[in-house]
Amino acid sequence: MKLIHKKTGCVIAEQKGDQIYINDPFIEAEIKLKGIAIPSFLSENFEGKSIVRMGDPLFNKAFKTVYLQFNLKKDAFSWE
């Protein structure tokens, strides 16, 4: 499954099996360094965590429901 930026057609991330691969080097670097910050109102959905890092079993969920929604403007993308 590919995460496509609708306006440009750019594939910004891909899910292969259980793994999400981020194609943009700046976004990848940011997430590698800082993880994904979980908004406080959603932390219960992430076992009370305030940050979910790469490698965490909750990472895919955090990327799809938090990073995509609040950092990447979800409406600008589609999973295909």
């Binding site: 440009t8 910004i12 700046f26 406080s40 109102f41 890092r53 609040f70 403007k73």
Partner: protein
Amino acid sequence: MTISSDYQTHWDYAYQSSEITCETALRINTTEYEDAHIISSLLKITESVCTDLNKSISSSGSLQEIDFFDEADIFKLGFVWEYIVQKNIPLQDIISEISNRRNEILNQKLEWREYLNTQEIGPLEQIYRENEQTLKLIRIVDGCGSTYCVVNNKKEPILIIKPVDEDILCLNNSKHYGNPFNNGSYSLKRYVPLYTSHQAHLLCYLLSKELGIEGITPKCEIAIISSDKFHDLSSTISSENLQLLEQIGSKDLEKLCSIQEYIPHTKDFLTLMCEYLKKGDSLGILDVLDNDNIEDLNLLLWASYDNDAHPGNFLVTEIVDPHTQKVTIKLIKVDNAMSFPEHNIGFDNFLFTFDVKRDSISDRLRKKISSFKEENIANLMKDLKFSKSSIESFIERISILKELSRRESISLFEINLRFALLGRSNGKDLALSDYSIPELEAILGSDHLLDTTSRISL
């Protein structure tokens, strides 16, 4: 220098892709706001409706909303409804919370009306004067908080309006993030209080002026505006639940808002990044960024300790040198709602990763930092009703920034790294420590000493 003519504005994009609804009747309150007699005479509002846009929305946007909400979610709260269900919160408690929020929203408006009565004409006066004509109010569907755009009769956007009580996780949000509660547990950023976006928007603009970098974020004012098309939670209540209206109190469509200038001829930074990625040259973007502009943006973000500077919150202007055809990109920071937190926690600066060379910061930037009079902003923060802890946090981080900027080889990346670590329980020590960059990266990349709730309990 000229602005590239083939640039499509956000507005063009929104218009063509039908991501907007068209509404009418913007009216600035004329009796309470000192300058309103000027503003209201300039913003003449039409009763007409742009039917084409209405048609496009009725066939797309509204369907999505119908599919989304749980039938039991009588207030159409969306995400927060899930938590109400999980915690089994009784309806009467929710009604009580809604009633409390309505009172708070009203009192907040009255409080700010007093402040507005003491203010002189703001920086947007020129825009009002240049648009002495019929205007329309457009609701922008994109984003998580309610945003309205004022357009002139040429359909050109001129102003952006954000009602405070329609922000994400505020009571009257219409985009699936309505929230009857007001505490840290139900916020987007734990240390940025709800119902304060107008203060942050205005202060960031004033900060940019104080730093000598005006233009890096939109001009902004605070105003009380009424429109019969603003959203109110009560409008979502179905006919079989009308008895609830009495219990939650009457609606108020006269709202405390921020008003910002619309920046034309831009696109968002994320789109630009995708364009470079698509052509297989992601790092090529670094060659067109303007170094001074990037330094100035970082300065703004350090001083405001923005908790939400993601790529979608930067606009891009492209400047083409007519002689050399060399393209330069300048960024503008928009949506400063999550700035000036109560504590120096949650710093989020996407530009962090763009300093790949990690050269020492310029003397120009060092001079700006050393000559910055933080007491002027601290005084403004008092006037704008920021909390004591927010002001103290601001003073603390500027003191740290000044100290860091005196270090000979410090880079933008390193300052960002140290500022991000301020959120840890021994944050100030870490920020000013002698740790190397790899050591700081290792700390930031680990959960060691990660502070979430222990340091401050709201």
